[in-house]
Symmetry: C2
Subunit: 327 residues, 2 copies
C-alpha cells in the first residue's frame, strides 16, 4: 500500500513535493491543506485541496504530513502542533533555533506516538550530513561551507524593500580563490568577505536615484556590508528573461591530517549544483517522508533529524537489493 502523503502549504516547496510524490512508486498524494479558500488553490494532481481547519478529519487518511511553511513563524508553531496528529517532515532552516524546535517537536511526537523529522533539505540536510560524516572520519581537520552560485531569496527581498526598487535578484557566489585555498589542506582562516561575493540585479522604479539605491544596498548591515557586492541595474524584461530561475548549490569541504606525525593530508568534498533549489529540496524531503513512515511503522517515535535516520530507510529498495546494487 502506498504511503499517503499530505502537504500543508502550496508554495514552491509544496509544489515540489507534489511533483516528487508523483514520481515515487510507493507514495500517493492524499491531500493538500491550505490556509486560503480551498476553491482558490489549483493544484497539478488529482488530490483533494482541503481547508487547514478540517485537517483533524484526515488523521487516519494520511501517513506523513509535509509542512511547507516558513521557518520564521509558521514551522515553530505548526510542526509541534501537527506532530500530535501525524508523522511530519519539515524544512526548518533557522540553524540557531534548531535545539528549541527539536524539543517542542520531540515532546509532541512522543506523546502522540508519531515521528517528526525536522530540518530536511540540503542546508540544513545533506550539507549537515556531510559535515557530520567528514568530522567523524577526519577528526583532526577543518570545515568549510560555501554557498552558490545561487539565488538568496532573503537578500533579494531585502533589496526589494529599498525605496525606488521595483524588483531584484541577488546571487551569492563563492570566491574561486577561497575555494581553492580551502581545498589545499593548508587550513586557511577565511573571512566572510573572502569566501563569498554578492551579485545584485536591480530594476529601478521610474525616476529612482540609482546612486542612492546602490549605496543603500552596499552598506546594508548583515546582508551586504561585509561582502564585496556588485550592483547591476537592468530592465524588468531582462530580469524576467535572464534571472527567472531559482538555482543554488554549494560546497562542503573538510580537510584533515592523519598519521603519527600528521604527515598525510586528506580532502573530503561534497557539492551540489542545482537548477531549482525548491525542487531539489523537495526531493530530499520526499526521501525522508519514506523514512518517517517506515521508522514509525517499526515503532520509533519522537523528533529526528537527518543525523538519526539510517540511510537505507530513504530508499524504496530492500536492504538486499541495496547491498547488491549500490554497496
Amino acid at each position: 500500500m502506498a504511503i499517503r502523503v499530505g502537504i500543508l502549504g502550496y508554495g514552491n516547496i509544496g509544489r515540489g513535493i507534489e511533483w516528487a510524490v508523483s514520481t515515487a512508486p510507493d507514495m500517493e498524494l492524499a491531500a493538500v491543506f491550505t490556509r486560503r479558500d480551498p476553491s482558490s488553490v489549483k493544484i497539478r494532481s488529482n488530490a483533494e485541496v482541503v481547508s487547514i481547519n478540517d485537517i483533524e478529519k484526515y488523521k487516519d487518511k494520511i501517513d506523513v504530513l509535509v509542512l511547507c511553511g516558513g521557518s520564521a513563524t509558521d514551522l515553530p508553531e505548526q510542526t509541534p502542533r501537527y506532530a500530535s496528529m501525524f508523522n511530519v517532515v519539515d524544512t526548518f532552516d533557522t540553524h540557531a533555533r534548531v535545539p528549541e524546535h527539536f524539543g517542542n517537536v520531540d515532546a509532541a511526537a512522543k506523546k502522540a506516538g508519531k515521528i517528526g523529522i525536522i530540518s530536511v533539505g540540503w542546508d540544513p540536510g545533506m550539507f549537515s550530513l556531510n559535515r557530520l560524516y567528514a568530522n567523524c572520519i577526519l577528526t583532526d581537520g577543518k570545515d568549510y561551507t560555501f554557498w552558490g552560485k545561487g539565488v538568496s531569496q532573503g537578500h533579494s527581498d531585502a533589496i526589494r524593500r529599498i525605496e525606488g526598487v521595483q524588483d531584484a535578484r541577488q546571487y551569492t557566489c563563492p570566491v574561486p580563490e577561497a575555494l581553492a585555498a580551502a581545498r589545499s589542506g593548508e587550513n586557511p582562516e577565511l573571512t566572510t568577505r573572502q569566501k563569498h561575493t554578492r551579485e545584485c540585479y536591480v530594476v529601478l522604479k521610474e525616476g529612482a536615484d540609482a546612486a542612492r539605491v546602490e549605496k543603500e544596498i552596499k552598506t546594508m548591515p548583515n546582508y551586504f556590508a561585509d561582502y564585496d557586492t556588485t550592483v547591476t541595474f537592468i530592465s524588468q524584461e531582462e530580469l524576467d528573461r535572464d534571472h527567472k530561475g531559482i538555482p543554488h548549490g554549494g560546497f562542503v569541504i573538510r580537510t584533515g591530517k592523519t598519521g603519527w606525525n600528521g604527515e598525510n593530508k586528506h580532502t573530503i568534498e561534497y557539492s551540489l549544483k542545482l537548477d531549482s533549489n525548491p525542487e531539489f529540496t523537495s526531493c530530499v524531503v520526499a526521501a525522508y517522508v519514506r523514512a518517517a513512515f517506515r521508522m514509525n511503522n517499526e515503532g520509533m517515535t519522537g523528533c529526528k533529524t537527518v543525523f538519526d535516520v539510517a540511510p537505507a530507510y530513504l530508499s524504496e529498495k530492500s536492504g538486499e537489493e541495496l547491498r547488491k546494487t549500490m554497496l
Copy 2:
C-alpha cells in the same frame, strides 16, 4: 568507560586503526592479534600483542574487534567466525560477494547477540553511501564513479608478476574530459577506456627486455587491455623516492532531472583526495567501531552495512551537541 578495541592483523589497515584509536577520546586499544609469532610483531602503542590462538580468552576484554585481513580469503572466513565472539567491523571489498558475506556474518552475529558491520571504508563505504543518498534524492538520473588519481595495489602486483620486472607502481587516473562530461548532466555513456587511464612506473631487472615487458603490461586482459596504458621505466631509486606513498581518491557523481517536464538539472558530487588510502580507510573504520559498540549496547544484533547505521552513531558527540554545531 572507553571502547576497548581489538585489531586482528597488523598490516597497513591494522596500523592505521592503531593510529586512529590512539586519537579517539573514547577508545583504547586493548590488543593486537596476529597469526605470526607475537614476539616478532612490534607495534607503536602499549597494547598487548597476542597470538590468534588465544583470542577466545579476550571475549570479555574487547568490545569491538576490527578485522584487517584480505577480502579474497581472510575475511570470508574470519568475519563470521569472530562475529560469534565479538562485535566486529571489517573492510570486505569484493562487491560481488557482499550478499553471501552478509548472510554468513548475519547468522553468526545474531546467534551470538553481536553486531558485525561489513564493507567499511570508502569504496565500499563512503562512496556507497553517497551513491545511495544521491539515488534516493535524484530518482531520475545517472551515476558515475571515478577512481584516482591513486595507487592500485592489485594492478601494481600484476605488473610485478611479469618476468623481468623488479618493482612497479600503477596509478589509476580519471580522464578529465570524462569527468567533465559526467558533471554536465548530459548523461553520457562512458566506456571503461574513456573513464580512466593507467600509468605504470616499472623498474626492470638487469638485462630484461623493456619492449616485451611493456607489451605484456599493455595487453594484459582485465587489468590493462581495456585501458589507455602508459609505461614508464625508472630506476629503483626513483620509484622509492617519487612513488612511495599510497595516495588514492575518486569521485561519485549523480546527475538528474526534476520538474513536470524534466526541465531542471541537478548535479550531486562527492570526492575524496587522499594522501594515504589505508589511513583514511582506518579513520572510517574507527567511526564505525564506535557505531558497532553503541548499536549493540542498544540491543541491536546481526550484520549491518554503512546503509544501516544512522550517522549520529559515528560521532562521540551527543545528539544535542551535533544538532547545535553541525546541523
